[in-house]
């Protein structure tokens, strides 16, 4: 059985920056436990001599000529931002009071 507890889910949610409700944490604890148990079978055949594959068709050293290309204008880059001013993205405070 997996070791997924509500504390695990709460910690993962913090890492993933999702403010889950207590109800969601409870539901996800059970669901993740079942999913993790089911996918753990990958370890059965993953013996040390088998190399890992990250991409189905590996390409190496994909370069382009080092010349300026077409890029978004400042206005375009900000066009979807929830808040922007003076050509920049606007966010709330980066540091909390305790920092």
């Amino acid at each position: 059985m997996s070791e997924i507890t509500p504390e695990t889910v709460r910690h993962l949610a913090e890492l993933a920056r999702i403010a889950l409700t207590e109800e969601e944490i409870e539901r996800l604890t059970g669901e993740l436990g079942a999913i993790v148990d089911s996918v753990a079978k990958v370890a059965e055949v993953a013996t040390p001599e088998v190399p890992a594959t990250s991409h189905p068709i590996l390409l190496a050293n994909v370069f382009r000529p080092d010349v300026p290309g077409e890029t978004l204008t400042n206005e375009e880059a900000l066009s979807g931002a929830p808040e922007a001013a003076e050509g920049r993205f606007v966010v709330s405070a980066i540091l909390g009071e305790e920092q």
């Binding site: 997924i4 695990t8 889910v9 993962l12 949610a13 913090e14 890492l15 993933a16 920056r17 999702i18 403010a19 889950l20 409700t21 969601e24 996800l28 669901e31 993740l32 079942a34 999913i35 993790v36 089911s38 996918v39 753990a40 079978k41 990958v42 370890a43 059965e44 055949v45 993953a46 013996t47 088998v50 190399p51 890992a52 594959t53 990250s54 991409h55 189905p56 068709i57 390409l59 994909v62 382009r64 978004l72 375009e76 880059a77 066009s79 979807g80 931002a81 929830p82 808040e83 993205f89 966010v91 709330s92 405070a93 980066i94 540091l95 909390g96």
Partner: protein, 505 residues
């Protein structure tokens, strides 16, 4: 055009429309209007579209005027196309089925979309999908489910249920989809349509809102193999904006499909039946149609060989480690800063708290489930056991494919284990939902191309079933050639499957 009843134009294939347009027997505006009328008539029931373009008629008029000026136009000029909402379009919202991107109009087109426009196709709108392509039923769309044109109480497959349903309901002749674990092929199977997942890297992913970057592939959705090939020819080929894009020169897939459509036999073709994907657990009517189709292949001169792929039974497990891991990284970009939703917690908060509140409000349950799962699989102490092992399984599955392709030119299986299930039947059981992709996931893990074509209706429920063909990487043309021959042979047996679909509207 003699009297031009709009309904007739919507029943035509993209290839037929292209001929009529080239011969100036119909105008692109007439063709676009017929499809927009069909959307207006039936999409209230189907909900294939999240957004219908208000620029379609203007785009069509420009094609007509270019043709009038004698401009050299592409083979599908003036043909309407629907676009899965996972692809960015600078004139239409691009939400990937998520509330977090509601109303977002990107400042750039996906390369595939830019190629549609350059080929003078006419975009009709954006199609519904499971949120960020996470799902097999389109029920995980934040904007409500799409319904299967064969039975409005049933799912159209997913994640690309909108594109498949739009094509099956004659709202568009062709559409773009994306396939990470079966999101083109499984919807094709359950709606009686054709879909192709190209070789990984054969079609650009630039502007495809990423789910799992090592698995995602954009591809064509259609009602015939030739139409899929024609669309693949338009969107495929190297794109310097996608560093995983293959620099290969590709043959004309339309030529391959036409050649296959005319082939008298399949003599000399070795067809490998993957034992592990011919499960006794599949729906009986699906298995029955599959085995009948193998008889059709034999009768046409193909040699049927049984092949083993012993590691395919680990494919779903490996997939549900790799996909959430990559998705949790890709979805980190939805941070409430650069685009999309921003939700500020009561009383305000730091940028991190705003981010967490935004993602809580903007992501649906399946997205949260997978992001949390992926975060777990990548976290220190678990990485080797899950992500590392899953990547090794990927190697083993590639080796299974290599062994199988040493014995067969194409591998075949049912495209999905069942016909379309009822809306609501599996939505609260993630593990049951994940098993819908058992037949399609191996091709994504190995990067090989796969196609689904209709193989008749399951006798017990009268719903469509799909036959999957897979070829070695870079051999997409082989799928179109053999697929077109098989499509003709199945058609001789069952007729055009969509002729049996209920009338809508």
């Amino acid at each position: 055009m003699n009297a031009a009843p709009g309904a007739d134009l919507t029943r035509k294939t993209a290839a037929e429309l292209a001929s009529l347009l080239a011969a100036r027997e119909v105008s692109a505006v007439e063709v676009a209007r017929a499809h927009l009328d069909r959307i207006a008539a039936v999409d209230g029931d189907i909900h294939a579209f999240l957004h219908v373009s208000d620029a379609a008629l203007a785009a069509a008029a420009m094609v007509d005027s270019a043709r009038g000026d004698g401009e050299e136009l592409g083979p599908l000029a003036g043909v309407p196309v629907a676009i899965k909402d996972v692809l960015t379009t600078k004139d239409m919202p691009s939400t990937a089925g998520s509330k977090i991107l509601e109303g977002w109009v990107p400042p750039y087109d996906a390369t595939t979309v830019a190629r549609l426009r350059a080929g003078h196709l006419v975009p009709l709108g954006k199609t519904n999908m499971d949120e960020f392509a996470m799902g097999s039923s389109t029920e995980h769309s934040a904007y409500g489910p799409t319904r299967n044109p064969w039975d409005l109480d049933r799912i159209p497959g997913g994640s690309g249920g909108g594109s498949a349903a739009a094509v099956a309901a004659f709202e568009s002749p062709i559409a773009l989809g994306s396939d990470t674990g079966g999101s083109i092929r499984q919807p094709g199977a359950v709606t009686g349509t054709v879909g192709v997942k190209p070789t990984y890297g054969a079609v650009s992913r630039y502007g495809a809102i990423a789910l799992a970057s090592s698995l995602d592939q954009v591809g064509p959705v259609s009602r015939t193999v030739l139409d899929a090939a024609l669309l693949h020819d338009v969107i495929g080929g190297h794109d310097p904006r996608d560093s995983t894009s293959l620099a290969d020169a590709w043959p004309s897939f339309a030529d391959a499909a036409r050649e296959g459509g005319l082939a008298e036999s399949l003599k000399g073709v070795r067809v490998g039946v993957v034992k592990e994907l011919d499960s006794p657990g599949f729906q009986p009517g699906v298995s029955q149609r599959f085995h009948e189709t193998l008889e059709v292949l034999t009768a046409a001169g193909a040699e049927i060989v049984e092949v083993r792929a012993p590691h395919f039974e680990y494919a779903v497990a490996a997939y549900y480690v790799i996909l959430p891991a990559e998705a949790s990284s890709n979805l980190a970009k939805f941070d409430s800063v650069r685009f999309g939703l921003r939700v500020t917690p009561p009383g305000g908060g730091t940028v991190e708290q705003v981010m967490a509140a935004t993602r809580e409000a903007g992501f649906g349950p399946e997205v949260k489930r997978r992001v949390i799962l992926g975060t777990y699989a990548l976290s220190a102490g678990y990485y080797d056991a899950y992500y590392g092992s899953a990547q090794k399984v990927r190697t083993l599955i590639q080796r299974d494919f290599a062994d199988a392709f040493a014995q067969a030119d194409v591998l075949v299986s049912p495209s999905a284990p069942t016909t379309a299930f009822k809306i609501g039947e599996k939505v609260n059981d993630p593990l049951a939902m994940y098993l819908n992709d058992v037949t399609t996931i191996p091709a994504n893990l190995a990067g090989v191309p796969g196609m689904t074509i209709p193989m008749g209706l399951a006798p017990e429920d009268g719903l469509p079933t799909g036959f999957q063909l897979m070829a070695p990487a870079r051999e997409d043309a082989r799928l179109y050639r053999i697929g077109a021959t098989l499509e003709r042979l199945i058609g001789e047996r069952h007729g055009a499957i969509l002729d049996a679909a209920p009338a809508l509207g």
